[in-house]
Symmetry: C2
Subunit: 447 residues, 2 copies
């Protein structure tokens, strides 16, 4: 273990160091560390990049997630140098860059920067839906026929350019996936072991058209770090790396959290004002519409409120607490659905538990609200009305928190879309209705 360089030291070395020393040091530096320097000091990014060898720039572009930034950096260089850099960038990243270009001519111009065989691979990758296995796979992997021994395989690997990543895939002459061998098995088997003996024929693969979220679940379930992607006839098309799967999980989680928070799924911390505005205003308008629906329930009972103004003070407690209880259920159910933990087998059990919680929490919070209302208004009948309305609204809240996401899921809509909107509209409307309705019926006791 050598002493870690600080970002400042690394930047100084790149900008002012001797070319040979830079090259030697960079061999042991992770591109993510250089990326940090580029992000921190955008003004000198041109100067820093100009001091780096092409392979290192390629590795850096492989790490960067923001395609706009990659294009900006590439455009610092001549077409000739761009070609040399792109030769070092992995195919899935190049595909994402081209996918981010909107103009067809720009896409074609970019493709022209690639070597012929890379161009073919990338053109193929561009055909897949970016949110499927095909869209996140790369075509850089090593396949073998597994017809010889461990020693012969090692001698073959010593001559290849492609660096094997943890596993070798075994294919037949028609490129049909037949098995997988781990490098761990190769290095621990005696030289004369036939490759077939250490090949696992029960290789798990995903189809190119499978949704990336499904793919992520397979990786999590089996603890894989690399998985082959096949077509309907089991031809090996590419591989998916755990690193890309982690990006998918992060992205899908952020989308879920955004939707639950009533924000469009695309917004990120670094979105511009305009992007954020576009992600939020539609939701606020939907919310406004539902808030009007809830307050229209209040307006029906304006006569009741006019007689007993204290009702206006108590009603936000009834609706607010219902909203909280509904959000609790919603949170647990949405997370359970996205982790694939809520299925037909436990659905009934979960629903019964939620109803139980609605009653239990409803009785406790209802009793507290009841006592508070009695004390506040100095009349036990206020306690009766508030307590009953509270219990009913808590039970309704858990039902809404359960059924809204489950029904959306059945309709193949992202259950996180249930968010604040549907559930709290339900609890607001029902809360006002139950409380003000009961108050109207029992009015003689309240005045």
């Amino acid at each position: 273990m050598i002493k870690q360089m600080t970002p400042e030291e690394l930047k100084n070395l790149i900008l002012h160091g001797n070319k040979e020393i830079i090259k030697e040091v960079l061999e042991n530096i992770h591109p993510a560390d250089i990326l940090d320097i580029l992000h921190e000091d955008e003004d000198s990014s041109k100067e820093i990049l100009e001091h780096l060898p092409n392979e290192v720039i390629g590795d850096i572009l492989d790490e960067e997630d923001d395609e706009e930034l990659i294009l900006e950096w590439l455009n610092l260089f001549s077409k000739y140098k761009q070609k040399q850099i792109l030769d070092e960038v992995s195919h899935d990243v190049i595909t994402d860059i081209i996918g981010s270009l909107e103009d067809e001519d720009e896409k074609n111009a970019f493709l022209e920067l690639l070597e012929d065989d890379d161009k073919e691979d990338v053109k193929q990758l561009l055909k897949y839906n970016p949110e499927t296995a095909g869209g996140i796979m790369t075509t850089e992997y090593l396949d073998i026929h597994a017809k010889n021994t461990v020693k012969e395989t090692l001698l073959f690997l010593q001559t290849t350019d492609e660096e094997p990543r943890h596993y070798l895939y075994v294919v037949d002459k028609d490129n049909i996936l037949k098995g997988v061998v781990s490098l761990g098995d190769i290095v621990t088997s005696s030289f004369d072991t036939p490759m077939m003996d250490i090949t696992n024929q029960n290789v798990k693969a995903v189809y190119y058209y499978q949704d990336q979220e499904e793919v992520a679940k397979v990786f999590s379930k089996y603890g894989y770090i690399l998985m082959p992607v096949i077509d309907e006839q089991h031809h090996l098309l590419g591989v998916i790396d755990i690193d890309d799967v982690m990006d998918v999980i992060e992205e899908e989680t952020t989308e879920d959290m955004n939707l639950l928070g009533g924000v469009g799924s695309e917004e990120r911390l670094d979105s511009t004002l305009t992007e954020s505005f576009k992600n939020r205003i539609p939701w606020l308008i939907v919310n406004l519409f539902t808030a009007i629906m809830a307050s229209s329930v209040v307006s029906v009972f304006e006569g009741t409120i006019a007689k007993v103004v204290a009702l206006a003070t108590i009603s936000p407690i009834i609706t607010g607490m219902g909203g909280n209880a509904g959000t609790q259920t919603l949170t647990i159910v949405v997370r359970g659905l996205s982790l694939g933990e809520l299925d037909k087998e436990n659905a009934r059990k979960v629903l019964l538990k939620e109803i139980g919680l609605g009653i239990l929490n409803g009785v406790i919070i209802g009793a507290l609200v009841s006592l508070g209302a009695w004390f506040f208004a100095g009349n036990p009948w206020f306690g009766v009305v508030a307590g009953l309305a509270m219990i009913c609204n808590m039970v309704i809240a858990t039902l809404a928190g359960y059924f809204v996401p489950v029904i959306l899921d059945r309709l193949h809509v992202d259950p996180a879309l249930a968010s604040g909107v549907f559930v709290t509209t339900f609890t607001d409307m029902f809360g006002f209705f139950a409380f003000l309705g009961l108050a109207t019926i029992l009015m003689t006791h309240l005045i």
Copy 2:
């Protein structure tokens, strides 16, 4: 690629198949697939487990996350067989099982089931805080001195029991971490390459005391699949696998989502009624307290509402929309903090954007609310009061949505704790105050 067995076929084979065939098939079956059968059919789990060889049972226990279930399964067997099974289970899983036992005597009795060298390793692992690098690492890894050639290393690996997982760690005679070699480099380097030539000395390691969340961030940043854990003197203590890191990320995300949804961080979909109740009722009581605070603002203005009852209809819109806008900001900021994207450099920019959004959305929603109130009450002054209150509350909402989590983070409290409670209490109280306060001032125009 061979045809995948259905769970039903696999179960039948295990229960009724010939011992030799079972063994051969199981070699190529992933333990997660057998785990599925055990989960689905809990009644026959005893019978299924009894038909499996000890190594397979060990692999299954390695995959299972629920320590209670592991203990249940182990207790199906005699002490003698338990010892044989545990010999196949990895040290970090055994540590988790012992950690889940509450009784000191039970812990010691369990330790007695282990072989002497395993016992020492596990005792050591038990000393680490379960939420730190030491708590999630395992002591099963391969270290080498890297003093010889690739061929000599291969011959050494062929004789070891331990299977290398993607990387070998290079240590000196005092077990101080010096570097790392990937199996990919070993299999592609000529037999006479000195190991030192393919050793990366700039090996990244984490300290045993680092928080698991920090460790997860390092894995994400560098795209690692395995990382060494060291002590203050750089002694190699163990390794952390990406699989365990993915569990950490899933756990931390669920905690964040729970807290944002106003549920205790421990609740899961499969929590019992009692567990769920304990995770929810404290939050509901806190919410009740804040709801009372908000409604106490209303009670101050009861005189105003008595004069103009329509105010009671409009006020939930002002407070509700503020809550929605605050939750939007909160969601983006909390996620940004947990992904480590919000730092000193962009804090100012993010805050200014949020204020801008507050004004922009405030003006739009304020204008709509203003028109609606005018139309509903038939008096333009209602529009003035509602519109102004709405704009103010939207700006306050974004400020609360930004500052509450940021301040909690500075105080080293989980920012997701901000949740519904603080932010919506703020917007409720301020919303009522601004709307009813303005109405009181402009009362002469409203009657």
